[in-house]
């Protein structure tokens, strides 16, 4: 029974990794940029939600949580789009390394702004949900875990449908396949890229609220670790492939939980990063990634 619980613990954190990984993978798929500021978007989302929930004390908890989620999504989306326009767009046609370094700069900028506003100390994230654990047979699963997994899976399915069923989704796939050709076909590449950043940041905001609800202490550097792990999840599943990000996220979460539970917490991160190395050696394009040969 402990084993099943450990798997569920893993799915819990894994689904958050997956949500964040989607942002990495979408952006990479379209502009071939590893957006290192994505982890800090999580931090922005958490602080936004914290401020909103602290202000809205009179309302029922779940109403407060809902409003906080919407506010976090709004703020993160704005941040994501503005960052892309200001920091990445001017570098779109230069070497890729330039944009990568700018991304690291943006990441540091966000962390330091947060430190200035909120101080570098840990702050408590307000209690968002007060529902007793749900008993399923002999097992008890916390409500937060159930909620996180459900919300994440629904969002991922929604995103999958969005990319495949809508016109803008089609444009995203087209830009991702060949940006120049897409532009020649009359697709507004800039708008498409903005939409991609917007969606990625909104998902990160959801991830942020779910993450902070589960681990209710927030600090300005909190985005770094989940950001890094989500990035690995994206690479693991095959960067640029949406279902790959989800699979990668869940695998990472479960591997981490089982290592912590059965081997040693010292090895938790080592195992996760070790898996990445193995995957890169065996199948560099990731589990679900397609081998693409450069067309000459």
């Amino acid at each position: 029974m402990t084993f099943v619980n450990q798997i569920i613990n893993g799915l819990h954190v894994g689904s958050i990794y997956a949500l964040i990984a989607l942002g990495y993978t979408m952006v990479y798929g379209i502009v071939k940029l590893i957006n290192f500021a994505h982890g800090d978007i999580i931090m922005v989302g958490s602080y936004t939600a914290m401020v909103i929930m602290t202000e809205l004390t009179g309302l029922p908890l779940w109403v407060g949580l809902l409003i906080a989620m919407l506010a976090a999504m709004l703020v993160c989306t704005t941040f994501g789009v503005v960052i892309e326009r200001v920091a990445y767009k001017p570098l779109r046609n230069t070497q890729r390394i330039a944009a990568l370094i700018t991304a690291i700069g943006v990441s540091l900028l966000l962390q330091n702004i947060a430190q200035l506003i909120f101080s570098p100390n840990s702050l408590p994230f307000p209690v968002a949900i007060r529902v007793p654990p749900v008993a399923i047979g002999e097992m008890t699963i916390s409500f937060i875990t159930l909620l996180t997994i459900t919300v994440s899976v629904l969002l991922m399915l929604g995103l999958q449908a969005f990319v495949h069923k809508t016109k803008i989704g089609k444009a995203m796939r087209a830009v991702s396949e060949d940006r120049d050709a897409a532009q020649l076909m009359g697709i507004n590449v800039s708008t498409t890229i903005s939409v991609t950043f917007a969606i990625g940041s909104a998902l990160a905001a959801m991830g942020a609220v779910l993450y902070s609800t589960a681990y209710p202490i927030i600090i300005p550097t909190m985005g770094a670790m989940p950001g890094l792990k989500a990035f690995i999840a994206a690479v693991l599943g095959g960067i640029g492939v949406l279902p790959g990000a989800m699979l990668g996220g869940f695998l990472m979460g479960v591997a981490e939980s089982l290592t912590n539970g059965y081997i040693s917490s010292q090895w938790g991160d080592a195992v996760v990063f070790g898996i990445l190395i193995v995957v890169l050696l065996v199948k560099p394009s990731g589990i679900l990634g397609r081998r693409t040969s450069e067309k000459v």
Partner: protein
């Protein structure tokens, strides 16, 4: 020529008289105080100074030590090891103090340690917790307890207060403080005949401890010793509720502050107990008097526990001088070794490494505030 001889004789006689002077006490006894009174750790230094000065003032008001008044000579070492050594030398050579209280943080205390041993001067710190400060230094004492000590006290508390038979430990295996607490708790629990059913490591800086807590919950312990600082401890408490782990939480002095970072203070209410050096809301007579005297002198209650341990450091030293009836170094050190007294931070004796074996103050939380529970005597 004659004059010179005359002076030589006078000086020789004077020196002989000084040397032959009986070991009785002088009119004023000078004690050196070594503390960072300015600089980054000044708040600790000032807290120590306030505690010591309060004791000395009360002592002099009672007539001092056998009629001799005590004078404190304070030197500011600014939290710096070089400054500390200079200040120490000045106290010993220029001010000719008979004993030293200090220093405050562990670095400066270690820095003056070897020299203190060489001279043999009695020296006592109220706040340096590094093990080496007093280890192998026969004349260096301290009145604050060490990390292992507070952990074993909590194992006893779990036995006395909750009758706990099954105990669990979660700790950070990359941190000395945490490792020390965890190992000492386990050792004492085993010595008490308690069953350590889980001993789980979680790396500090992590946020996810659910895997470890799930394992611990499966063993159904009655208490969980959380050998973490308050940030990780707050996460542990929140996640324990999630995995359905229903225990009393225990911890060390690093838990203080958890009430400011936990999302739901109700989780701490009478469920988290930790050891601390001192509790200003304790109801023992010594503490009540100390708080009243402190407030009368400084117009506010002490904010840092080291004011209390400093008061006790001054008390140990002055009682030793009184017991020795002299201020020569060896006699005072000998008397300090035999200390068996009761200060404001509880009963106090010294072990073979001059570390105190003393009472710990057990705290919990009521309405989100730190609240004194009981004094756990050794």
């Amino acid at each position: 020529m004659k004059n010179r001889k005359f002076f030589a004789i006078i000086i020789a006689v004077a020196l002989t008289i000084t040397m032959l002077a009986p070991a009785a006490l002088a009119d004023t006894i000078k004690i050196g105080g070594l503390a960072p009174l300015t600089g980054p750790v000044a708040q600790y230094g000032i807290a120590v100074q306030e505690g010591v000065d309060l004791y000395i003032e009360l002592l002099n008001a009672r007539g001092g030590i056998n009629g001799s008044l005590v004078e404190m000579v304070w030197e500011d070492e600014r939290g710096d090891v070089t400054e500390a050594v200079n200040a120490f030398n000045k106290l010993v050579e220029q001010d000719k103090v008979v004993a030293i209280i200090g220093s405050v943080t562990s670095g400066p205390s270690l820095a003056v340690g070897d020299q203190a041993v060489e001279i043999g001067i009695p020296i006592i710190t109220a706040s340096s917790t590094a093990f080496d400060v007093t280890y192998n230094k026969p004349n260096y004492f301290r009145t604050c307890f060490l990390d292992p000590f507070q952990a074993s006290t909590m194992a006893n508390f779990a036995r006395d207060e909750f009758g706990a038979q099954k105990v669990a430990v979660i700790y950070d295996n990359s941190n000395d403080y945490s490792l020390g607490l965890a190992e000492s708790f386990r050792a004492q629990a085993e010595a008490n005949g308690q069953d350590v059913v889980a001993y789980e490591a979680g790396a500090g800086g992590n946020v996810d401890f659910k895997a470890q807590l799930t394992n611990i919950a499966a063993q159904e312990p009655e208490v969980l010793y959380v050998a973490f600082y308050y940030t990780e401890a707050a996460l542990v408490v929140a996640q324990a509720a999630e995995v359905g782990l229903d225990v009393k939480f225990l911890g060390g002095d690093g838990i203080s502050g958890i009430e400011n970072v936990i999302s739901d203070v109700a989780l701490l209410e009478n469920s988290f107990f930790y050891s601390d050096h001192f509790a200003s809301d304790a109801t023992t007579e010594a503490v009540v008097d100390f708080i009243a005297d402190f407030t009368a002198k400084y117009g506010r209650a002490p904010t840092i526990v080291f004011s209390a341990t400093a008061y006790d450091a001054a008390l140990v030293l002055c009682e030793a001088i009184e017991a020795a009836g002299a201020t020569d170094f060896d006699a005072v050190v000998e008397a300090m070794k035999n200390t068996n007294t009761e200060g404001v931070t509880g009963k106090l004796t010294f072990d073979e490494n001059n570390n105190p074996t003393k009472s710990a103050f057990i705290m919990t939380f009521v309405d989100g505030n730190q609240t004194f529970v009981k004094q756990q005597d050794p």
